[in-house]
């Protein structure tokens, strides 16, 4: 059980890091900075989901992390694509 608990603690630590990244999301002077922060948060959240899944000891809910790992990429691509146009 102590292993599961350690997974939970690690997830909590990563979530705190995500909070730090959210600061960059808030202050980031350019939209690109914010996008980078979002990308970082995405990675962190995938890790958190995997860790929490292990902490719950439920294998099936790791599917969510898989979906997220795949789909956050799409979101990032869209952001990059329309950041690049500079918009108006």
């Amino acid at each position: 059980m102590i292993v599961e608990l350690s997974f939970g603690v690690a997830a909590a630590v990563l979530l705190a890091y995500a909070l730090v990244c959210a600061i960059r999301l808030g202050i980031g002077p350019t939209a690109a900075d914010r996008a980078v922060a979002l990308d970082t948060i995405n990675t962190l959240v995938v890790a958190i989901m995997v860790l929490v899944g292990a902490a719950f000891d439920l294998m099936i809910i790791l599917d969510v992390a898989l979906v997220y790992a795949l789909l956050s990429f799409v979101g990032t691509l869209y952001i990059a694509r329309y950041l690049e146009e500079g918009l108006k």
Binding site: L5, G8, V9, A11, A12, L15, A16, A18, L19, A22, L25, G26, G28, A31, R34, A35, L38, I41, N42, V45, I48, M49, V52, F56, I60, I61, D63, V64, V67, Y68, L71, S72, V74, G75, Y78, I79, R81, Y82, L83, E85, L87, K88
Partner: protein, 83 residues
């Protein structure tokens, strides 16, 4: 149990925080990004509330498609909010 509660509290707090950012940021692109982050943390909150079905739906729809549609719409309009 308390660990779970602190995880949930943090993810909820960040959901609200990202929502606040989505409201206050004047740059619409940034606001859309903040909305994406909000959906992401919401998905995490669903995950922690033992709702993996909803979390997958929120991840798929909130992370990729909503962001995509918002960005496509912002591309066709004006990026800065005029005041």
């Amino acid at each position: 149990m308390t660990l779970w509660a602190s995880l949930l509290t943090m993810s909820l707090a960040m959901t609200v925080l990202a929502g606040l950012l989505a409201v206050v940021l004047r740059d619409l692109l940034a606001a859309a990004l903040a909305l994406g982050a909000q959906g992401l943390f919401l998905s995490l909150a669903f995950y922690l509330l033992q709702a993996p079905d909803v979390a997958i739906a929120q991840a798929g729809i909130g992370a990729a498609l909503t962001t995509a549609i918002f960005l496509l719409a912002i591309r066709r309009t004006r990026r800065k909010e005029e005041e």
